[in-house]
């Protein structure tokens, strides 16, 4: 009888649990997601969906903002005026991308101040790639080709993300990123056709940035706790490993045009899978950099905090100026009404 009783309990209690855990609004929500109807800011959404989006979008925004630092480093030393104007335009774009994304995150009920706070206190992460130094001019080329290339691979599917403001921001960003990648490849192409020293510089930059670039797709699928739910909610459309594989396939071909190589002895075309096989990723390094111990983590954060603090008087002055104008308007209205 024990077995029977257990079975009864199991079926009935599970049924009860089911109806309790999947409340009506959640069901309706998932149904809309499944029918590819975008979720907009004032629609009902599960708290976990909101939290997941805030985490992802704000970290994405932080990455754009911190990402200005390694490139800004080379603006004054760009080798020609042409390179200088394009680099300035690119860095300005990154600031814009950060702003689109902060605005998208704000629609979920978190304030800009809170997000900046989370970045500066280390509570929120940003892409680990920006904790590597830009040692030579070739690094600027590689960032455009590999880092922005990886970002595009990641971001194109996000244009169809289930959350309306996020997908709209991503559409705008993707349009602009393509110039970034092309300007980067052009820099490398020039170096790859230059002197022996320039060629060495090009290969050296590729060697240093390749592995960190493919780490940008995040932990492998079996170590990525959020992927399943994120895919069910259609925030993400492909897994980290799927996107990483695509990126490797693309770059393994593109590098041939430069006459350079990718620093992976295991990189080889696999007839069976129709993909490139590649060597193991050093996840220990990835975790280290994420946890604040990359080559430039402290420097990047110090630069962000300093910029924020040094800009405080500008923000205060602008607010004070607006208040003064408001007071003037109020007193002139009063004067006019007294006259009449």
């Amino acid at each position: 009888m024990g077995g029977k009783m257990y079975l009864w309990l199991q079926t009935h209690c599970l049924a009860m649990n089911d109806s309790l855990s999947i409340q009506e609004p959640e069901k309706g929500f998932q149904d809309r997601i499944d029918r590819e109807i975008r979720i907009e800011p004032r629609d009902w959404m599960p708290d976990a969906y909101r939290r997941m989006l805030i985490r992802q979008i704000s970290q994405h925004a932080h990455s754009e903002i911190v990402g200005m630092l390694p490139e800004g480093n080379w603006i004054t030393r760009a080798p020609s005026l042409r390179r200088k104007v394009t680099l300035i335009a690119k860095v300005q774009d990154e600031a814009g991308h950060g702003l689109y994304l902060y605005a998208a995150a704000e629609t979920l009920g978190i304030s800009r101040d809170e997000m900046i706070d989370q970045l500066h206190t280390g509570k929120a992460k940003y892409s680990s790639i920006f904790n590597y130094p830009t040692l030579t001019w070739a690094d600027i080329g590689v960032i455009g080709w590999l880092v922005d290339g990886a970002a595009i691979m990641n971001q194109v599917p996000l244009c169809r993300s289930s959350y309306g403001p996020y997908s709209r921001a991503m559409v705008r960003i993707c349009k602009e990123e393509s110039f970034h990648q092309r300007q980067g490849f052009e820099i490398l192409l020039t170096l790859s056709r230059g002197s022996a020293a320039q060629k060495r510089m090009c290969q050296d930059a590729i060697n240093r940035w390749w592995w960190p670039s493919i780490m940008m797709f995040g932990p492998s699928d079996d170590a990525s706790p959020h992927t399943g739910q994120s895919m069910r909610w259609k925030i993400k459309r492909f897994t980290n490993d799927e996107l990483r594989q695509r990126f490797v396939n693309v770059c393994a071909e593109q590098v041939k045009i430069l006459g350079m190589t990718l620093p992976d002895p295991d990189l080889v075309w696999n007839e069976q899978t129709g993909q490139y096989d590649f060597g193991p990723i050093d996840w220990e390094e990835f975790r280290n950099v994420i946890n604040g111990n990359g080559p430039c983590n402290r420097e990047r954060m110090a630069a962000r905090v300093r910029a924020h603090e040094e800009g405080a008087w500008v923000r205060e002055a602008a607010t004070a100026h607006e208040l003064r104008l408001q007071n003037k308007r109020i007193s002139s209205v009063k004067e006019n009404s007294e006259k009449s």
Partner: protein
């Protein structure tokens, strides 16, 4: 708070930021409507327009910008969408295809 940022009751309330939020509308070329492009923070209207120029029109996306402080926008409630828009669904006679006319009839 604006239509994008105005939150329904089950959401946490945002902490007040230092500069107010503005909604940006851009006319992409003469003859077209202004269309919502996004939002940004600014101390006053002039700064909002200047920031909108930098953030939303770096690639000839616009010839005219409107900004309005987000708190001045009012939006319909998504929970009332049914009551508001359903009545339109059963009035197909408002569409030209509702009327059955012979194929020989031209220029109509």
């Amino acid at each position: 708070m604006n239509p994008e940022n105005e939150l329904s009751s089950n959401n946490p309330s945002p902490r007040a930021g230092s500069w107010p939020l503005w909604e940006v509308f851009i006319r992409s070329r003469q003859g077209l409507d202004h269309k919502h492009a996004g939002s940004l923070h600014a101390a006053d209207a002039r700064m909002a327009i200047e920031n909108a120029r930098d953030v939303y029109t770096r690639r000839m996306e616009g010839v005219s910008i409107w900004v309005v402080e987000s708190r001045h926008l009012h939006a319909s409630d998504p929970d009332e969408a049914g009551a508001l828009y359903d009545p339109a669904n059963d009035k197909i006679y408002r569409h030209p295809t509702f009327y059955v006319l012979p194929d020989e009839l031209k220029n109509m």
